[in-house]
Subunit: 209 residues, 2 copies
């Protein structure tokens, strides 16, 4: 069985316990010979996904308790396995969702780190700068490269800390590990969404055989 989590930039696969990745462009040419259970937030790919019966969309089977209108399936899947905690999926976008007693309390969306760097670059050539991954975000920046890195990281961290309180913060997605380093009570779990997909398939065995 292959699991696949399709985002705006990449499709991430789990097969035999190993994670692999394909760009969305590569994915357009991918024709699996075996079943691929997927979730997908990329509207451009649904025509392709419908054309091959080996692709099985898990979206209709996921259910979480929320009043949020139009919660993306990636976020639903991230929350599905968590009873209490803050789920941070740091990819092209950074989504943050809060679960309490298996109820989704709401969430918000930030641009991902590479998207933020591009935004600075678009404002002025003076702000075309790399992220300083060693930055001390407890000190006020004293040069522009730090002023940008701090501007990206500090607001993310401070808001997450405030909202999380004593809850665990679960990081997943391409930048999840990097971001998790700025937190004490963090769990970094690249398998979070796949674990939820597997749990769903186990729960709905009679339908998803």
């Amino acid at each position: 069985m292959i699991l696949c989590d399709i985002g705006n930039t990449n499709a991430t696969f789990l097969k035999d316990g190993k994670i692999s990745r394909m760009s969305v462009d590569e994915f357009r040419r991918y024709e699996p010979k075996e079943r691929v259970y997927f979730i997908c937030v990329n509207d451009d790919l649904f025509a392709k996904l419908k054309s091959n019966p080996n692709f099985i969309d898990l979206e209709p089977y996921f259910e979480i308790d929320t009043i949020y209108q139009g919660l993306g399936i990636d976020r639903i899947a991230g929350c599905y396995g968590i009873t209490d905690g803050v789920i941070v999926d740091a990819g092209s976008a950074i989504t943050v969702d809060i679960m309490s007693n298996s109820i989704h309390l709401g969430g918000y969306i930030l641009p991902g780190i590479s998207s933020m760097l591009k935004a600075y670059e678009g404002i002025s050539p003076r702000l075309k700068l790399p992220i300083n991954s060693q930055i001390d975000i407890d000190a006020l920046p004293q040069k522009t490269v730090d002023a940008v890195s701090y501007g990206i990281l500090k607001p993310i961290v401070i808001l997450l800390e405030k909202l999380a309180g004593n809850k665990k913060v679960y990081f997943t997605g391409g930048d999840g590990e990097f971001l998790s380093k700025f937190f004490k009570n963090a769990v970094c779990d690249k398998m979070l969404v796949f674990r939820s997909m597997q749990k769903l398939i186990n729960n709905k065995k009679e339908i998803l055989k």
Copy 2:
């Protein structure tokens, strides 16, 4: 006397107590017949500014007490008139600087609101959304349009509140008034930079005659 604050997107003028604005493209064709005292962060315009002797650059005359390397002249000018406070210049970028006893303690840079909206749009067509200016940032978002507006505004507000403590927060720039509404201890001052430029000219009367 004309004062002019040249940014990455617009040039803002003060003449006879009235503020007016010109896009950077319009500014390229602007040939003043009288003296224009200016500050400029847009490197592309310095050749033009040097070609007309009516343009007088105030940058060499501004001095503030800081260890920040390469602080932009717009930020220096914003801080120049403030003894104690947080200075937020919300334009193409949002710069935040902290002054304490006339010493600049450091600062950081965020993408401006329109730049953030563009960043979301670049991630996914699903995130091409306007800002909800009426959003209640004290409640967790329950729909995507709010998740984006919250993602833009809440991190800005929460970090500023934490850093400001009991200091006043001075907002200037095109989005300054909008942002100031989210704060209790806020002063909105479109004239902040011009007031500094005027103060400098008064202080350096013998040079800048």
